[in-house]
Symmetry: C2
Subunit: 501 residues, 2 copies
């Protein structure tokens, strides 16, 4: 009898898991505590770890053990799920030459540095050569991977963030979404905005920090299994369900930014802490897609964090820290925190206009990858699309085509997952309200654990046993759809603005 | 013509360097910011990196390229030095089976956790089985490495910390040292101690922290190339000359502890920042031994930091932060910071008695490794040796045999380097005073950069081009000797206590 392939697979997966945890920690450290002159060594460290990860994932003994394990068709459902997930990872990795992996890593590091300077000077022409290089390498990578079933070149990249999703499906979903969303935005943006002068309170950083920690406690983020730090751009990185790192950012004059970035990252963090720890050494202890990950952050940030019940519960605690808010009603606060307005910058957009920003990026990056748009024509195309989709044109590249870091990382195919996250979030929250009687009242009393426990059971603990849409279908009864999001927007903003939407 | 072996060596060394930088960062993070439940994943991560480091260092293509490069006998002195250092590392690694490396790593992680509990309960019997296991594995490792020329089994371990050093030499050095040091300790400990009640000032953590940062600035520690954080046990870890992490610890009622731990770690940190950055991707950008590293920390902590000129310069700044010190003269402060007393605990020992603590540990661990002492008899042997060498017997194991973490890490052979550091520090400082006219006056004016620059030139920038004793000989004109330390102790403490020593 030949030896079981599983010891080889288990050992390889444990090492891969350890090394990706290391990669996460290196990135976390780089954005939080690394001294300025540590960058050169850090680039070497990240490249070394990425190279070893690629080598290990594509090692002959792993490929062999995987094929043998598949041939055995394990009856255990978790083992079958492990083989599916590992096969997916291996197949993508093995097709991309190590040379290209290293070339991409180098091009990304270089492009991000140039992007920072180009953005500061609002000069796209300085960034353009780097973007062209990245686009070329990413198209090369897509061609190495090959067109996924029923797809096109862009789908090979999209598949790296949202397995199973396709351009054709996204275009249909986004067309429907834009169809009803544009008129809603036009309507709301034309109404007098809710007053929000009281938000311009003096907001000492320490008081903001204290309140964000209070929120983390209320959400049930386990401080023994994670931490929050400050960084320029908020993010979440996890090395393990027992080691989840969130960051937030604090502006001295605006507490909302820190609050909503903490709620957003805490949504990611609760997901990571809730992943199936019994699979911490294999491939199942991870989210199946970026879209489902984003659904958790947007659910807590928007569906919960921008709701009236939430502020009924938490405004008194906020006002204790910021006496300037004394006397503001939860209703007034809720309206102020939900102003809808045409905006140039995605990360500052309200939840109604936000998806239009994504539609804009998807349209442009798809054209770039398809070869229908040249990098040199990108700024003009951006500004035109902005006018057409958002109803507002940027006056410079800093607030236009240079605003996001994603393309400087070569992350073509990533943006659509943000919109998918918004749609999934609305679907999941609607299902939670259906399943949990009195959920709004619970939230209104500051009791957030029933919702968290529901998400833990229905989403977090599944890990990669199911793909994103399967998780959503199992939890809500339907696959990807913008219907729940549409109902949510029309009801919430109709009531908020006192109009029929 | 066969291809040059250097591209292979350069690539391998760059990766090794990156991976050991990663290992340092993982350890730093573990002691500073890692959440409590991150430990399990961290153990996996450290084991993965250590395993890969061992594999890479002993890879056939590295061994082959190294042999070919050696056969070419490079004329370039740096290349020749690289080959010597790499050969040393490879030879030690290649003799130890990967299985033993992994078994040691696992035994260390387990033993440290048990030691923590055993120490808290002051129960050596709980720790004994783990210590026996570690001792067994380390003896096995020593036997795998083989007895170095002119040495014995213990020397194979010692060689990992202090290349070239041997038991026979240490015994001679320590015998001479103890010969004059014991009478000095007996004399000083019998005199009335200098008053130090004024040191029990209220010392808010923030004010202590601020002062330690001020000291780092005065020493010329580059904040763009490093940082200081807090941890339970102070330490220094560096990933690169551009990324050096110090920690300190702060007790609310005792500012001296934070001050001297910062000065100590800053000495290590200046060394790391001053290593030859042009060799950051090869084996020369490192200290040749732990003893020479410790010479830098002890030089700044004791020779500078516990000197009268230093406190002439810095006491006013300290008193500004701690008004309780107003009116204390530099002379009085200097005397209080240099009390000599018999003590049980090494890390709290003054610089005169400190080396006796090392002699005690060396004697016992040598007996353990030789097989002349059984682990079960260690507590009794410790207490007896303590009475004989230190003139004081512990009343429990917590302040006795369980006080240090080193043996729980299996670090037999490490302790002697602390005493070597003290001797080298005195030799180097004496040479700096000889070379730098008016050094004491400079220090008395708070100008520390002449000394730092001298050390940078004579020690830091050499990296591993020379071994520890060669560095000291080149800088001072003589090899390892306790003569400078003896002169320093007799002069300083004779003056301080007003006696002829």
């Amino acid at each position: 009898m030949p030896a079981s392939p599983w010891p080889t697979l288990d050992r390889a997966m444990a090492e891969l898991r350890a090394l990706s945890g290391v990669a996460s920690l290196l990135q976390w450290d780089q954005e939080t505590y690394m001294p300025p002159r540590g960058g050169a060594a850090r680039a070497d460290q990240v490249a070394a770890i990425q190279g070893i990860l690629h080598d290990r994932l594509t090692a002959p003994e792993v490929l062999d053990a995987l094929a043998r394990a598949e041939a055995e068709r394990p009856a255990d459902p978790d083992r079958a799920a492990i083989l599916r997930a590992l096969r997916f990872d291996v197949d993508r990795a093995v097709r991309v030459p190590g040379e290209l992996v290293r070339a991409l890593a180098a091009a990304q590091s270089a492009a991000v540095e140039v992007w920072k300077e180009a953005r500061a000077e609002s000069r796209f022409d300085r960034f353009a050569p780097r973007l062209e290089e990245l686009l070329r390498l990413r198209r090369e990578q897509a061609d190495a991977i090959g067109v996924p079933q029923g797809g096109e070149r862009y789908d090979a990249l999209l598949e790296g963030y949202e397995p199973g999703m396709r351009v054709a499906r996204l275009e249909a979903v986004f067309a429907r979404l834009t169809g009803w969303l544009r008129p809603v935005v036009d309507r709301l943006a034309g109404l007098p905005p809710p007053p929000d002068a009281f938000l311009r309170v003096e907001a000492p950083a320490e008081a903001q920090w204290g309140f964000t920690l209070e929120l983390l406690g209320a959400l049930g983020f386990d401080p023994d299994a994670g931490r929050q730090d400050r960084s320029i751009h908020p993010f979440t990185l996890a090395a393990d369900p027992g080691d989840v790192r969130l960051t937030t950012r604090i502006f001295e004059e605006l507490p909302l930014s820190a609050i909503f970035s903490t709620l957003h990252e805490a949504g990611h963090g609760l997901y990571e802490q809730g992943l199936p720890a019994e699979h911490r050494r294999d491939v199942l202890c991870a989210a199946p897609s970026m879209g489902i990950h984003e659904s958790q952050s947007r659910l807590w940030e928007n569906l919960v964090g921008r709701s009236l019940p939430f502020w009924r519960a938490f405004l008194p605690a906020l006002a204790r820290r910021f006496p300037g808010l004394a006397g503001v009603s939860p209703e007034a606060f809720h309206r102020a925190a939900n102003r809808v307005e045409r905006s140039l910058v995605r990360v500052e957009a309200d939840e109604v206009t936000y998806n239009l920003h994504i539609v804009l990026r998807f349209e442009l990056e798809l054209a770039l990858v398809r070869g229908d748009l040249a990098v040199r024509d990108l700024p003009g195309a951006w500004n035109d699309a902005s006018g057409r989709i958002l109803g507002i044109r940027p006056t410079d590249d800093r607030d236009g085509v240079l605003q996001d870091i994603h393309w400087a990382w070569g992350e073509f195919g990533y943006f659509p997952t943000y919109a998918l996250g918004n749609l999934y979030a609305a679907q999941l929250f609607a299902a939670a309200r259906r399943d949990l009687a009195g959920l709004d009242d619970e939230i209104g009393r500051g009791r957030l654990h029933p919702l968290r426990d529901w998400l833990r059971e229905r989403v977090h603990r599944i890990g990669r046993r199911l793909d994103a849409e399967e998780i959503v279908r199992a939890a809500t009864g339907e696959g990807l759809s913008d219907a729940a999001f549409e109902r949510y927007v029309r009801e919430k903003y109709g009531a908020l603005y006192g109009v029929a939407l």
